[in-house]
Symmetry: C2
Subunit: 341 residues, 2 copies
């Protein structure tokens, strides 16, 4: 019936209210140099005509933007959604809007998304680098001089601000907790080589073993691309060894929960037959059975810092590069062998 209505602009408001375009613009931005009477008249016209502010046009004129791009790896992972939730809160509070996208851990897609976000005119970017990220992407961002904060995984982070967890320390803490409970054969299940988070965790695990004087057994470190099922095969790999481990670090909480299923599938009880510790501290960990001992990486803190960093760099583009590292924290529950039931 009705064709696409030509949108109501600031000019229409001006005509309707009998003032100039400039005046309407000033009213919209709450200028103090306009009289109460005109303000009221303009606002009345705005209501009457059903006006929507065209932020794109304004951004074009002012060469600014109130959007921040956020690239996460996986929307389905609560660690990233918690991170996202905090970033959105912070951004909102500061008057920014978040364009959220997921890279699916694909560097090519990540590159495309970065370019797309630039075209969409973001004022800054928070990127959780995909495993296998190419330097080219970040070179491009750097030469465009766009404020960027790298989050969660340190990649090319000497040139950009960074907010993330201390993965090395996290694995040390977890390994120590298992050692303290008397375990000598401890596996590390899941994660792919080349993913800096995973590699740092393996390094921390190695260091803790070494300090306890335990020889490192490569057969106990199982690599795999994390999925909802991967933990099952990961744990079966170490169950097939002559000398089985009595405990395992799992790359993240997802893997840990899937390892629980793998154990049950093989007639073993998670927690008592094999002690388990995950990483991330996602809320679901508390709802698993047995409840999951995990090293919380404080996604909300990481998100808060990342948002702060990118916003502060938008405002002050030339300040020094800064790194904010969150200290991880062990949350002891039932899966690490102190089962209470």
């Amino acid at each position: 019936m009705m064709g696409p209505v030509r949108s109501v602009t600031i000019n229409d408001i001006a005509d309707h209210a009998g003032v100039s375009r400039s005046t309407v613009s000033l009213v919209l931005r709450g200028s103090s140099r306009i009289s109460k009477a005109t303000i009221d008249r303009v606002n009345a016209s705005i209501d009457a005509l059903g006006y929507t502010y065209n932020r794109g046009a304004a951004n074009l004129r002012t060469q600014t933007s109130q959007a921040i791009g956020l690239i996460i790896n996986d929307l389905m992972n609560p660690f990233f959604t918690e991170l996202t939730a905090t970033i959105e809160e912070m951004a909102d509070r500061e008057g920014y809007f978040v364009y959220l996208v997921q890279s699916n851990e694909e560097p090519a897609r990540q590159h495309k998304l970065c370019m797309s976000l630039l075209e969409h005119g973001v004022a800054g970017l928070i990127v959780c680098p995909a495993t296998g990220s190419s330097l080219e992407t970040f070179d491009r961002l750097h030469e465009r001089r766009i404020p960027v904060c790298i989050a969660v995984r340190p990649f090319a982070s000497d040139r950009f601000d960074f907010s993330g967890p201390d993965n090395f320390r996290a694995a040390e803490i977890a390994t120590d907790a298992l050692l303290k409970r008397g375990h000598r054969r401890i596996a590390f299940l899941g994660g792919e080589r080349g993913n800096p988070s995973r590699d740092d965790r393996v390094a921390g695990y190695f260091k803790a073993l070494q300090q306890a004087g335990i020889e490192y057994d490569p057969a106990l470190v199982v690599e795999s691309r994390p999925s909802r099922q991967s933990g099952i095969t990961d744990v079966e790999t170490v169950l097939s060894l002559r000398d089985r481990p009595t405990a395992a670090l799992c790359y993240n909480d997802f893997v840990a929960i899937s390892v629980m299923h793998g154990l049950r599938k093989n007639g073993l009880e998670p927690g008592s037959d094999m002690a388990l510790i995950g990483f991330d501290g996602m809320p679901e960990a508390e709802m698993s059975h047995p409840t999951l001992t995990t090293v919380s990486l404080h996604p909300r803190e990481i998100g808060r810092e990342a948002a702060e960093l990118v916003i502060s760099r938008i405002r002050e583009p030339n300040r020094d590069v800064t790194r904010r590292i969150q200290t991880p924290q062990l949350i002891v529950r039932d899966s690490c062998g102190t089962a209470k039931r």
Copy 2:
């Protein structure tokens, strides 16, 4: 050190390549009316100068946009993230970009987000209405004549396209499955009155009971705002009854998993001591212990249809309003009483 670099524009490219602005614009859009030689020259200049396309300026000129706004209730809920993932895939395939935001089930926030998305110039909107949504929000959208698809929960959906599950049928299916297994006292745990999804499910549950000749007992229907813990108190409410239920429908899979914890906390075993069925069909349901019987609402299908509907309406604004209802599907696992171990 370096101030904010004035961005490279189409004019700079034109100067560098020794052609006109119009020519560069045509090259960017892949026009066939430009000679191979000029195309190459222009592309060379684009690479040399490091140009980024300003989509905002183009949108202003063409009065179009390739962005679709998506408002979901809760980023932390896998049902919505699966929905989102499919919508993003579809949008991407059709050349659209998704602006994703969450309403946190707050109508006021939802209203603000709608207005904000309009200002950011989306071509269309997919909204999963928050519980307690005000009609005003949707009136505003309607008078602005912006293409809108309502998803998941039918609200004001006589004026807008809709894609969602058949909640009534879902509850009938679930209730029948429990009746077939011999249960007579079946509870309905979680969800808030006023949430159309929940109300439809309760109605379907009621209908199935009625058809089986079972009298409806209001004490078995427990209302609560769903959270990661709410199922615990929900189930404790019905455990305190003289005549306890032997089975329960849970408002969604989250609630169901939390109900499992509530049962264990009270010394009961989920599945054998109380049969449980959830709704949504989220991937975690397969990873719980016992594995969760659930009615899948096919979030991916709902997302696919929603994306199709909004894109088709962007292209053809005046076609008739359409509704796409997904038929739910029971996925039988261990929690409904057929435990195999």
